[in-house]
Symmetry: C2
Subunit: 330 residues, 2 copies
């Protein structure tokens, strides 16, 4: 394909500033990406394309966990651990709008106060509206911009509602599931879908009186994971314990992420996963683009809603309905 | 929406014959559904639409298991168990073409000899070509035709390669995963994706010397499933043992399927799942339809392939690529 010959001057300037690590430029670029204006969207496409060769170098870690698990404090502790070792850390999020009525965790930067105030970190809340696919696509492009701006670790968090975990897994190299030791003897159930995605389970709050409980929980999760076939024969998801409060276990947690990277690089799965992810994003963006008219045209939207109800009620078949919607989109 | 006012006479006649339980008509109707000719496809849409009110009454069971687990003998044993109790049983399959080089299990009807020769059963191999989405959509419509023809139990098997298990789960009420007791102490790993889908795990070959081993395996699977959050609070997937060879455990196996139905009906999840499935099929068929041109037009296909490679190599962004493909489809 041919690249646009004359990217608008703004894009060229923005790309240059961003590449030099200019934080305000990075923030502005992400705002451009999140804009719904079609000229902004075109400029954003040019910008990401122009920066593409500067992307891909970060360790991309997806982090999920139910509310209350201590996700923000964990990201704060892990982020500071990394910054102290010379890393530049970007923190992004994919929160489907519907899940954010309780207030975005990332929006509340006070909960990750140290990282949020560090010059070596960049914290950006989730794009605030749109379909999950749209929100996730924007976060993925924000991640690329952070890489181009020199951030070498990107942490992408999600509250794990609906398909957002899959979306985050599809944009990261390593997917980390945070859990709590059970209250009393009760183990916290692992959501089924999560078992398929997680590259590691980490049990928080392994401090003070909780250490023993955390270790017991870890043993239980370990034996349960044992009978599941691993996604890769080169990586059996470990179960570790840590404390975001005291920082205990942060070193092991990070080392496992690096071990995974080493193993995946050795087997060739690292490059393969990145390639697959990129192609998958292409199809996902095409689908979003093609479905956009169904959402933006009020008349079509109403007709589709009615058709959906008729299909749900068993009055028309999915095939007849699909044929009809395709006609409206013609 | 308005239904086609003049369905072709063939469709009307076929629908009538099929509704009266005419086996040859059922076979012919499924062939019509599987045809790639566009006039046949239009007729097939009319046919399924015409029969829609006669569908939905069967117990729809998806069955998966790795090769060697005894899927065909299990279906034969379960099928005969049901036929002896007055049921009419249809057996269908979703096998992605790529998985069928070793010969379709269903194609080899001798492996389910009793069911294949029973007047109360109808056995149909998987549609033999097309994308997984296409194959699955055809099997789903074949299932509706079987229901209209009076079959009150539909068993849909899959070899479980790739996404075929999800597709079968999306067209059935109950998803059954067949396993073997381990050889020696080794438990057979459960594929991670399967854990999310399975409504029951059934361990075959619990006969002769194997009974103890099967029970031990069942206990292990049970404790592993225990720490996973169930999909429904009204159904915790049980683990049972049975023998397709001796017929031991067939009654429990079927009773669990009925128990699940009772529980799901009581909670309202049964109707909700069917409604969701129907809407999901509509979107899936729309997507297939819109993507069809990418596959059927050789020039576009070649360009898409090249673009995919460029995206995989990191030379162009998914957003730019999606924009370009959308232009070609315009």
């Amino acid at each position: 394909m041919t690249l646009p010959k004359n990217p608008s001057p703004d894009v060229g300037k923005l790309a240059k500033e961003l590449r030099s690590g200019h934080r305000a430029a990075l923030a502005r670029a992400i705002t451009l990406i999140e804009s719904r204006r079609s000229d902004h969207q075109a400029a954003a496409r040019d910008l990401v394309q122009a920066l593409l060769s500067d992307t891909g170098k970060a360790v991309r870690v997806g982090i999920t966990g139910s509310p209350g698990v201590g996700k923000s404090t964990t990201i704060d502790a892990l982020g500071m651990f990394l910054i102290e070792r010379g890393h530049k850390v970007a923190v992004l999020a994919v929160d489907p709008s519907s899940a954010r009525t309780g207030g975005s965790i990332l929006g509340d930067k006070t909960r990750m106060a140290r990282v949020a105030n560090s010059d070596s970190a960049f914290v950006r809340p989730s794009p605030s509206s749109g379909t999950l696919g749209g929100v996730a696509a924007k976060t993925r492009e924000a991640m690329l911009l952070c890489e181009a701006a020199g951030f070498d670790v990107v942490l992408v968090e999600t509250v794990g509602i609906g398909q957002s975990e899959t979306a985050v897994c599809d944009m990261t190299d390593f997917f980390l599931a945070l859990m709590l030791p059970g209250a009393g003897d009760e183990l916290q159930g692992i959501k089924k879908g999560l078992v398929e995605l997680a590259d590691m389970i980490a049990i928080n709050k392994a401090d003070g009186d909780n250490v023993k409980r955390a270790n017991l929980a870890a043993a239980d999760y370990r034996s349960a994971l044992h009978i599941l076939s691993p996604r890769s024969e080169h990586w059996h998801p470990p179960v570790v314990t840590y404390s975001a409060l005291t920082g205990t276990g942060m070193d092991t947690l990070w080392q496992k992420i690096l071990d995974h990277r080493t193993a995946m690089n050795a087997s060739g799965e690292f490059a393969a996963r990145r390639r697959e992810q990129q192609v998958k994003w292409m199809w996902s963006m095409l689908e979003q683009r093609m479905m956009a008219r169904l959402r933006s045209d009020a008349t079509i939207r109403a007709k589709v809603k009615k058709t959906e109800a008729e299909v749900a009620d068993g009055r028309i078949t999915p095939a007849v309905a699909a044929e009809q919607i395709a006609e409206w989109l013609r």
